[in-house]
């Protein structure tokens, strides 16, 4: 049976960018303009989880994202890899959302979409790393959730997920509709095919404003949040590494052993 899926995606500063480019200016993370944003790594895994199900049993994938000033090429990657539809909650009022207002707006949009069997989210965003929005959406919609899935299969109106736990994994079964957060292990997001890229180029995302999902501007973004960012800062890391060198790498290795013994570390 085809499965109706929604995948929540977030546009974030590239988390793989070198640490040196991350600079806090006026309490905001500011990256140089040449560092392009990306879809968060865990949302990419979430997309891949949905695409694998679409491959196996067919279905529809609606990607949805919340923010402002989306870079179209970046966020349309969801369409290029195989999502059928892209909905952007895009408005100035959505800026500086916290987990609370993000989940609230996404849940309202998902209610408007109406039809869904599985909602996929990444385990956490790649910028704020909070890991709350997926579970928040599930709670608002009153549906069960399975977190930290690294494999998802569906059959007979149920999903079976491998949930990662510290010493292994659990196989968890849940009836539709359900929300699943995805972690690494599912496999990297597939590359977009040329055909996919061409099709995505022609497709326009659907843009919804707060009013389109029945929310006041005061209920979304920073105004609708429940936590206040007092300060964003970068702790100063003092490098104090003692480099052990010698004529050859092997000699340096032996010298390291001597040095560590000398300072009684080993």
């Amino acid at each position: 049976m085809p499965v109706n899926m929604i995948v929540c995606c977030k546009q974030v500063p590239d988390p793989e960018a070198p640490p040196a480019v991350f600079k806090v200016v006026n309490n905001k993370m500011t990256l140089p303009p040449d560092v392009k944003p990306v879809i968060g790594q865990y949302e990419e895994f979430a997309l891949e989880a949905a695409l694998k199900i679409k491959d196996a049993v067919g279905g529809k994938i609606t990607a949805i994202s919340l923010g402002n000033n989306f870079v179209r090429d970046v966020i349309k990657k969801a369409l290029a890899v195989g999502a059928d539809e892209l909905i952007l909650l895009e408005d100035k009022a959505f800026e500086d959302s916290d987990s609370w207002s993000t989940a609230k707006a996404l849940a309202a949009a998902i209610k408007k979409i109406g039809q869904y069997d599985i909602i996929f989210c990444g385990r956490q965003s790649s910028d704020w790393d909070a890991g709350q929005v997926g579970l928040g959406i599930a709670e608002i919609l009153g549906i069960p959730a399975v977190t930290l899935a690294r494999k998802v299969e569906v059959s007979d109106g149920k999903a079976k997920a491998e949930r990662v736990i510290p010493d292994g994994y659990q196989v968890v079964e849940v009836t539709f509709p359900a929300l699943i957060t995805v972690t690494s292990g599912i496999g990297a997001l597939r590359y977009a095919t040329l055909k996919g890229i061409m099709a995505a180029a022609k497709k326009q995302p659907i843009v919804w404003k707060p009013a389109d999902i029945g929310l006041q501007p005061s209920e979304v973004g920073a105004a609708g949040g429940r936590s206040k960012l007092d300060k964003l800062f970068q702790p100063v890391k003092e490098s104090k590494c003692e480099m052990i060198s010698a004529d050859t790498a092997a000699e340096a290795g032996a010298k390291l052993a001597v040095r560590l013994r000398e300072v009684k570390l080993l």
Partner: protein, 333 residues
């Protein structure tokens, strides 16, 4: 509006004993409770709680709420949240402390949304603002590239705390406290998930979280073999454990249980030997609590040298065998 008072710790048990994260939360909770001159309580929910309630008192709790039910044998959000929600509504704590663990990650956000309060996850530092009595929460963001300080006026003040970020107080078996049964009902019809199977993937030997020495391999190891051979040889020599950064785990070279980092395990051994690990912030977030970091990497610019105390630039294939043989010689002497 109810008056919110006291600190509540959500405890976790491992093999019938308090998990180390719970002793850490109790340590942190005790400090906050003393500052506020309020009570520290701890919820222990399991199929059997037994002596662990006394342990919680010895580690600082004034009051332990015991919730025993067969449904708690294996953690599931849908059952656990029922007792958690009930207790928080009954006792209205000012602060709720939960571990940033498999359970905490799964339970805390859901509970916060249900209670209509804000949650800050993965906190490294917590203090009380003396003027407002609000909890000031510091947590890493942007994969560890920055830290953020949050406050919220929604009650209760709810956070999850990273493992090893807080210190337990010294165990004192003569401490006094009360143990009371938690009042709750479990409606099994609300449990919508079903655990079909639990599979342990842990390898034999020293557990990563408990190992005094960790030898961690990164992307530069090039494949699964060196994890079984040279890294294991060094770990065995030092009575330690082998770990990995994210790429080896993602590539399937090692089980996910080896993964150290922001989204893997957080470790804080005495000695951390990072081999062919570039030191992405994602990774160092999981090992920066180590007492001494030693790095071996062929790239002199690798970020790992910024957090290391001792470093060698070179290919691990050349550095490690000489290091190990010299070390054997020195240890034998």
């Amino acid at each position: 509006m109810a008056e919110y008072k006291g600190i509540l710790v959500f405890g976790e048990l491992v093999d019938g004993k308090l998990a180390s994260i719970t002793t850490e939360l109790l340590g942190c909770g005790r400090r906050l409770a003393n500052e506020l001159k309020e009570e520290l309580s701890c919820l222990l929910a399991s199929d059997v709680v037994g002596e662990a309630s006394k342990e919680a008192i010895a580690y600082g709790a004034d009051k332990v709420y015991v919730a025993e039910h067969p449904a708690f044998k294996e953690y599931q959000a849908d059952s656990c949240i029922q007792v958690a929600e009930k207790l928080v509504k009954d006792i209205s704590p000012r602060v709720v402390l939960i571990g940033q663990t498999a359970m905490g990650r799964d339970l805390a956000p859901r509970l916060a949304f249900r209670l209509g309060t804000s949650l800050t996850t993965d906190c490294l530092d917590l203090r009380i603002d003396p003027a407002t009595k609000l909890l000031v929460r510091t947590r890493p963001v942007y994969g560890g590239n920055a830290q953020a300080v949050f406050t919220s006026d929604s009650m209760p003040q709810m956070v999850t705390v990273r493992a090893k970020a807080m210190s337990p107080i010294e165990r004192d078996n003569s401490r006094k406290g009360t143990v009371v049964p938690a009042k709750f009902d479990i409606d099994m019809s609300k449990v919508k998930t079903k655990v079909l199977e639990t599979v342990k993937e842990e390898t034999v030997g020293v557990k990563l979280e408990d190992a005094p020495v960790i030898v961690c391999g990164g992307r530069g190891m090039g494949g699964p073999a060196p994890f079984q051979t040279i890294l294991k040889e060094l770990a065995d020599l030092l009575h330690g454990a082998v770990g990995a950064s994210r790429p080896p785990a993602d590539n399937g070279w090692v089980p996910e249980s080896y993964h150290i980092g922001l989204t893997g395990k957080i470790v804080a051994p005495d000695i951390y030997i990072a081999v062919a690990v570039s030191g992405a912030t994602q990774h160092t977030a999981g090992c920066s609590g180590s007492k001494h970091i030693i790095a071996i990497n062929k790239d002199p610019e690798a970020n790992i040298f910024k957090v290391a105390e001792f470093g060698v630039v070179g290919k691990y294939e050349e550095v490690l065998p000489a290091f190990i043989s010299k070390l054997k010689e020195l240890l034998a002497a």
